[in-house]
Structures are given as structure tokens and as C-alpha cells.
């Protein structure tokens, strides 16, 4: 049975096995490659997406579990005010290095700011603890989240 869901505001129907994780349905079937494969085990956060506004690891979410739900990837997120603020902060603070983890970082940051629009350092560290960056950009990510929070408040 094809699975129907909304991806970045578009109604989609994906003809995949029920147990296929959303990550592969997005990347390999729907061709949405901004969602990254890092570990396949819910350990790194590179595949983070929003499902009805909540952060999920797409590699740990069977596609059947998101039937009828709204999935927001980095592509959709950065078209919205919150995502735009985050992307701008990331660029202004020159956060990225290799950049591979950053879509997942930004999605996680969006979920964090939705839940807590004015996080302190400890709240950011907690909210971002599911995301790994091998290049070591954590300090700039934290600063960029503060900046995006300020932008949204203003």
C-alpha cells in the first residue's frame, strides 16, 4: 500500500514497504537529499526532520508511522520564517565546515526554538545533544541559535 503524507507542504504518495524508514523513502524514493544519512541508528541526528513540528530521526521512523502527517525537511524549513532566521544566523556566523550535519542541526534547532524561543546555553546543549558534528562547529552552532532566537524575538 502506498503511504500518503505531506512533505514540505506537498501531498505525496510513496510506494514503499511499510517498514522502510522515512530517511530512505525521502532520500532514495522521493529524491529529497537535504536529509542526510549519517549512522542509521538514531545516534547522530543528520537525518533530523520535523513530523507535525516535532523533531524525529528519519532513520528510526518507519514510513508507516508518518502516514497522514506533515513532514518538514530542511528544504521546507528554510522557506519558513524560523528556518530563514536559522539559515541566516548560520551564514552570518560562518558556522559550517564540511556542512554535512548542518541540515540536521538546523532542523533540531528549529524544534528547540519552537519549544523554547529563548533557550540559554544549557537548554541549547540539551536540545542539540542528539546531533553530532565531526568538524567541531558546536560553539558556532550554539551562537547561531542564540542569534536566530534574537531575530525571531525582534
Amino acid at each position: 500500500m502506498p503511504v500518503s503524507l505531506t512533505i514540505d507542504g506537498q501531498q505525496r504518495s510513496l510506494a514503499v514497504a511499510d517498514d522502510m524508514p522515512l530517511l530512505w523513502a525521502l532520500r532514495d524514493i522521493a529524491g529529497i537529499t537535504g536529509v542526510k544519512f549519517g549512522c542509521g541508528a538514531g545516534l547522530c541526528g543528520a537525518c533530523s526532520v520535523l513530523v507535525d513540528g516535532e523533531r524525529q530521526f528519519a532513520c528510526q521512523t518507519p514510513v508507516s508511522a508518518v502516514a497522514g502527517k506533515a513532514v518538514t525537511t530542511i528544504a521546507g524549513l528554510t522557506g519558513q520564517p524560523l528556518g530563514k532566521a536559522l539559515a541566516a544566523a548560520w551564514e552570518e556566523l560562518d558556522v559550517v565546515q564540511c556542512g554535512y550535519c548542518q541540515p540536521g542541526q538546523i532542523v533540531a534547532a528549529a524544534a528547540l526554538l519552537k519549544a523554547n524561543p529563548t533557550p540559554d546555553d544549557a537548554a541549547i546543549d540539551e536540545g542539540m545533544s542528539g546531533n553530532i558534528c565531526r568538524c567541531g562547529t558546536y560553539n558556532r552552532i550554539r551562537a547561531a541559535i542564540h542569534r536566530a532566537a534574537d531575530t525571531i524575538k525582534a
Binding site: 530512505w24 528544504a75 565546515q97 564540511c98 556542512g99 565531526r134 568538524c135
Partner: protein, 704 residues
């Protein structure tokens, strides 16, 4: 023959029609498609529409080389770096010669600093001269900015587009690059040019390639190094809906499918069985014992000066120590992958590689075709750290693609990526020094043993000393009356490769830890002992700066300490002071690291800072928790649970002091990574009185 960038770009566009939108556009904007009019060299051109085009002569893995090299061009041509069209070119050894596109060992800026500025300066002079001829004036007073040449005396202005055809007829080879006093781009903070696509998920990495008609594959290689495939159930794999093919090689099994998930399920169903071979009994303890045994005696001489026996005579004290460093996985965020299509006409490859030319050659070798039958499209890399200096991922993909009638994207699972890494070698070092009554070193002997990565590349030319493995050890910062440094190659079943920081990182851990041991033996403060002995003025300057900024000597609460380390390798001087806290359960935290660097002119200070912040945190993960181990001939670790990178709450604040000098530019990829383990080990000693001589330091402290 020199291939101009435009020729190459046209070829790339034509070839990429199959790429369905996955064309590499690092700048997140359309690049000019105008033909090259003025080729300053094989990869830098002024196009007919006046745009300046740079085909990147090095590869971008996050280190920011795309931005730094573009800045060098921008400086000479009076442009903003953002105005230059920069692209990631296809592999083409001849086009870039004598520059080697291989990117590693902190060589990019050191290799390109002169030739790239020279080429851009030549182009600038050609444009200025063309304007001078047009206006019948001397070129000296003309200025160049925003893509045009201007005569300040008359207000006349000619855009590059109007000059380039004329300029191309007379391109000098000896133009003088812009002097430092006139720099407007070099030395100024420049934000990265590749951010926009990376933050929006549109920047394509190799793993994102989509070729029409392609299948997606994954693989299982023998878990035990050297093992062979004994059997598998191909029918069971093919019974998984979506599986296309099962391809067996001697030591590897592939499954191709409609998605990686399906391929993985197919591989599980195929249940490969292995003849484990001779290494099935090999454990880490055997490797470590062999390394320890190898440093019981001197190896092959890498450096010998003075009379060691005489220098030892009459020493006030002698200090000797044995250090161990583990195998390390690279664990780049982007797992191993390569897409390949083999047809009777040739081979096409899409991947992110640090060695485009070597990867192309490897693809040709595996496919059994001439190199000019291979097109290799390179991409941004989701981390390199040395892993993508290897071509095994390309070879595996081409060997699979040769057996299927469609393009295939081979993606390694994270488990396969870690368990079939080409790991950073494990090393043992035995180091001893004799001190006179004042604490000066009289005799210094350093025995280094481990895998010789260089030997694999040098073959018969290998003379017994791996030059990388002794980098930083043959001429340490500490003078001695006599010195002997030796290397002993010790291989195990574990395949080895380079890892960020390379040999200099291992030697800095040993030498800078040992320097603290010598200071202790001499009864002196670690900073004072170093400053009393280091002659190198640049090393002294960064050491003093880092120590002062970190508040060296200040009182700290119980269980806290500062530790320092300094190096002069890769033509860069860098010092770090780590602030460490150790709790009652001996858990180590590193809240802050202060770094001072002299890398010469610091082309992009913002990028230098990023390399320091990143290098410190990358290498601190390994220093505290790193290490993969052999268990029954296989790597015991498999994912980010047991190859543990620091997370945000564990990452130190990194304070950076960039101290530009007019020395030749040095490398910045390796140095920040290389100082952190000794700085932290020395801080642990300051905090606890326990000397940890093995990495990972956390486990080392627990067993100390």
C-alpha cells in the same frame, strides 16, 4: 595540452545531462557559461563575459580551501571573492600539473600560495596593459576594481569583458603580485563561499548524486581482515521486493536495489558466510605487545646527531617513558560512497574524494580501461580527515558497476564504514632523555614503532623510515647535545591510512607530554622549562601568548589544571593551553582551550579560527575517547555509540589568537588537531598528579 576551464566546463555540462540537477554548484548560484578568453593557467581564466573562473585545484572537505584560494585570486584581480565563479572540476591530472590536486597534509595553501597568485597577477597585468594600450597611457597609474580597469586621471573605465580579448593576446608570466601593504582581501575575515547551499541542504555531496536509471547498493566485506566470501543465499536476497541483483566477489558481497534500506535487507537475507583466514585469532593485545616489543631496541635511523653515549655520561638524571596511541576510525559524517557507471564506452564516476587523480586512475585500473576512458566528477565531501585519501570506495563501486548494466550508487552503512576504515595506525613510542643539573637535555632518544602508511605508496622506494611518521620528531623544539630518532615499521592485519594531524600529531603527543615529564624531573614549571630551552622565536611567541591569555600560573580549584603544548610543524607554529577538570570519579571535562597560532599571513583569519575550533574538538574526541580495537581479527566498534565524538555539551570553548607574521604561509588543517592530546594530558597531570601515557586519555586515567 592545456584544457581551458571553459572547455572542461562544457564537457562537464554535456556529460552531466544525465545528472538530473545534481550538478555541483558550490556557490549556490548559476555560474557563467561564457567561454574562456584569457587562460591564466589550466584552471584560472577570465571568461569572454568578463567573469573570472576558478576550477578548484584542491578539494573541499570542510577546511575552507575553496574560500581561501578564491581570496588569493580576488586579491590580484581586484574582485570580491563572492564575485568569482568557483567550481569543483573533474579529475584531470594533466590540467592541474604541476599542482597535485591531492588534498592532505596541510599542503594546499603552501603549494598554491605562489603559483595561484602569480597566475592571477599575470591576468591582472594583461588586463591593465590592454586598457593602457586602448587609452594610449602608461599602465602604472591604472587601477583595477569591481571587474573593470579605471584610469583615475581621466575617469575612464573599461570592464574586463571589453578588455579580455585584447588582454589574452599578451599575458605576461612575471607580473608582481600585490604586495602585503596593499592587500585588501588577504588577511581580512571572509565568510565561507559554500555556506548557502550547505545550510539549506542543496549543496550536493557525493552521496546525494542521482543518475537516471541508477540502483542503490550496499556491501558486506569480510568482517575479519583478509577473509574470503565462503557462501551466501542469493535467492533469499532476490526474494526481497525491490532487490535487483546480488554480486559476489572474492572478499565482498553487494546487493543492488531501489533504496539503501532494501539493499541492506537483501544483504541480511543473503546472510554471507566467510572463511575468516589467518587473522581470525588476532586481538588488540597482540598488536600492542608487538609495538611495545618493537621499541625495546632502536629501529631504522631517522636522525642521528652527536655522540649519544657521551651525552648520557654524567647526566644529573635520566627520564624514560613508554607511550601508546590507538588505531583511530575517521568516522566522517558522510559515510563511504561512490557512484559508478561502466559501459563499453568507458567509466563515469561520481564521488567526493581528496585524491581525484588517483581515484580516476584507480577506477581505470579496476575497470581495465585507459585513464582517458574514465570521467570522475568530484563533489563536496562530508568530512575527509584523511579517509578520502584512499580509493577503496571508488574501487569497490567500479568493481560492482562493471558487473551490472546500470549506474549504481554504492553506499557503505555506518557499521561497514567504521569496520572497514583504513584506520590511523596504532603506535608505541619509547623516549628517553638525560638532563644536566640545570635541566638542559644532553641526550635524547626517541624510538617510534607502528604501521608505515607511506610504505604502501612508496613500494620498493621505501627505505625503512616513514617520513610522515617521524615528522616533528626528528627536529623537536628542544635542543640536545646528541639525538637519535628511529622508526620501526610494524604492520598488523589492520589496514592503515592517514588521519587528520598525521604523524606530527602522534609525535606531538609524545614529545609535548614528555617535555612536561622533563620539566617535572628538573623541578621546573612546564612553561618556564620550555621557554628556557626553546630557541625557535616563533614557537616561543605563540607559547607565551597562549600561556598569558590562558592565565598560566593562576590558582585553580582542586581537581582542575592547565596543560600546554606547542609545535612547529607544517610551517606553522601553534600553542594550546587546555583547562581540564577531573571529578572524583576520574571523569575528564575540558571546558576551555586557548590557542595561539602563527601560520604566516593568515589568508582568511576567520577560516583559520574555524580550523582551530574544529581541529581542537575533532581531535579532543579521539584524545579522550578514541580508539578502535581488533577483536578476533575484526574491528570491535561499529557506530557513534562506541566511536564516540564529543557532543555540544562536552565541547570546550575555544579561544583563538591569530598572530599573523610575514613568514611563508603554513598549513592549518593538521596543527590544531595535533596539540590537543598532550595539552590535555599535561592538564590532567596538573589536576591529579597522574601522568597518562596512553590515548584514549579517559580510559588511561581510569587505569592509572
Amino acid at each position: 595540452m592545456t584544457i581551458s576551464p571553459a572547455t572542461s566546463r562544457r564537457a562537464f555540462l554535456a556529460g552531466s545531462a544525465v545528472l538530473a540537477g545534481a550538478l555541483v554548484v558550490p556557490l549556490h548560484r548559476a555560474l557563467s557559461t561564457a567561454p574562456a578568453q584569457l587562460s591564466a593557467n589550466g584552471y584560472l581564466a577570465v571568461l569572454a563575459d568578463g567573469k573570472v573562473s576558478l576550477a578548484l585545484p584542491k578539494t573541499e572537505m570542510g577546511q575552507g580551501i575553496m574560500t581561501a584560494l578564491t581570496m588569493l585570486v580576488a586579491e590580484e584581480l581586484g574582485l570580491a571573492p563572492t564575485a568569482i565563479d568557483v567550481s569543483i572540476p573533474e579529475a584531470d591530472r594533466a590540467r592541474f600539473a604541476p599542482v597535485d590536486t591531492t588534498t592532505g597534509g596541510s599542503t594546499s595553501i603552501r603549494e598554491l600560495w605562489k603559483p595561484l597568485r602569480q597566475a592571477a597577477a599575470n591576468a591582472r597585468m594583461a588586463l591593465v596593459d590592454a586598457a593602457a594600450r586602448r587609452w594610449k597611457v602608461m599602465p602604472d597609474g591604472l587601477t583595477l576594481a569591481d571587474g573593470a580597469v579605471t584610469n583615475p586621471a581621466t575617469g575612464q573605465r573599461l570592464a574586463f569583458a571589453a578588455l579580455v580579448a585584447d588582454a589574452a593576446t599578451r599575458v605576461p608570466t612575471d607580473a608582481v603580485p600585490v604586495p602585503p601593504s596593499a592587500w585588501k582581501v588577504i588577511g581580512r575575515d571572509q565568510r565561507r563561499l559554500d555556506s548557502a547551499g550547505k545550510v539549506r541542504g542543496t549543496a550536493p555531496f557525493g552521496i546525494d548524486v542521482q543518475v537516471p536509471g541508477m540502483k542503490i547498493a550496499t556491501l558486506a566485506q569480510s568482517p575479519v581482515f583478509g577473509g574470503k566470501l565462503a557462501g551466501h543465499d542469493a535467492a533469499a536476497a532476490r526474494a526481497v521486493p525491490g532487490v535487483a541483483d546480488v554480486v559476489a566477489l572474492d572478499d565482498c558481497l553487494f546487493v543492488t536495489a531501489d533504496s539503501l534500506w532494501t539493499a541492506k535487507k537483501g544483504l541480511e537475507a543473503a546472510a554471507p558466510r566467510w572463511n575468516e583466514g589467518a587473522n581470525a585469532g588476532l586481538d588488540q593485545a597482540q598488536v600492542d605487545a608487538a609495538l611495545t616489543a618493537a621499541v625495546a631496541r632502536p629501529g631504522v635511523t631517522a636522525k642521528a646527531e652527536g655522540d649519544l653515549a657521551a651525552a648520557r655520561t654524567g647526566a644529573a638524571r635520566t627520564v624514560e617513558a613508554l607511550y601508546h596511541q590507538p588505531f583511530l576510525a575517521h568516522a566522517t559524517m558522510e559515510p563511504g560512497n561512490c557512484t559508478a557507471h561502466v559501459t563499453p564506452q568507458g567509466v563515469e564516476v561520481w564521488t567526493g574524494t581528496q585524491v581525484p587523480s588517483d581515484a580516476r586512475a584507480a577506477a581505470a585500473r579496476v575497470a581495465g580501461v585507459a585513464e582517458d576512458k574514465v570521467r570522475l566528477h568530484n563533489f563536496l565531501m562530508g568530512g575527509g580527515f584523511g579517509r578520502r585519501l584512499e580509493t577503496d570506495m571508488v574501487e569497490r563501486a567500479v568493481s560492482l558497476a562493471a558487473k551490472v548494466p546500470y549506474p549504481v550508487k554504492l553506499v557503505w552503512t555506518r557499521e561497514e564504514d567504521i569496520q572497514h576504515d583504513m584506520v590511523r595506525p596504532a603506535y608505541a613510542d619509547r623516549i628517553s632523555a638525560s638532563l644536566d643539573a640545570a635541566g638542559n637535555v644532553t641526550a635524547w632518544e626517541h624510538r617510534i614503532a607502528g604501521s608505515a602508511v607511506m610504505a604502501r605508496f612508496l613500494g620498493d622506494k621505501f627505505n625503512g623510515v616513514d617520513d610522515d611518521a617521524v615528522d616533528g620528531a626528528t627536529a623537536p623544539l628542544y635542543p640536545a647535545k646528541a639525538r637519535l630518532v628511529t622508526f620501526k615499521q610494524v604492520e598488523s592485519a589492520m589496514p592503515t591510512g592517514w588521519w587528520r594531524g598525521v604523524g606530527g600529531l602522534r609525535n606531538t603527543f609524545v614529545i609535548e607530554s614528555f617535555a612536561d615529564e622533563l620539566a617535572l624531573a628538573a623541578g621546573q614549571d612546564p612553561l618556564a622549562w620550555r621557554l628556557a630551552r626553546i630557541i625557535d622565536p616563533r614557537a616561543r611567541a605563540v607559547l607565551q601568548k597562549a600561556a598569558a591569555e590562558a592565565g598560566w600560573g593562576k590558582a585553580l580549584p582542586k581537581g582542575e589544571g592547565l596543560g600546554l603544548a606547542v609545535l612547529h610543524i607544517w610551517d606553522t607554529c601553534l600553542a594550546a593551553v587546555a583547562h581540564v577538570k577531573v571529578d572524583a570519579q576520574r571523569q575528564i571535562a575540558v571546558p576551555q582551550v586557548t590557542v595561539a597560532v602563527d601560520c604566516g599571513p593568515a589568508i582568511n583569519p576567520l577560516g583559520v579560527k574555524a580550523q582551530i575550533e574544529g581541529g581542537v574538538i575533532f581531535a579532543l574526541s579521539a584524545a579522550l575517547y578514541g580508539g578502535v580495537t581488533l577483536d578476533k581479527g575484526r574491528i570491535a566498534q561499529s557506530n557513534y555509540n562506541d566511536v564516540r565524538p564529543l557532543r555540544m555539551n562536552e565541547a570546550p570553548r575555544v579561544i583563538t589568537h591569530v598572530m599573523p607574521t610575514d613568514n611563508a604561509p603554513g598549513g592549518m588543517g593538521e596543527p590544531p588537531a595535533a596539540v590537543i592530546a598532550p595539552a590535555v594530558a599535561n592538564a590532567i597531570f596538573a589536576a591529579t598528579g597522574k601522568r597518562v601515557r596512553q590515548v584514549p586519555l579517559q580510559a588511561g586515567l581510569e587505569s592509572a
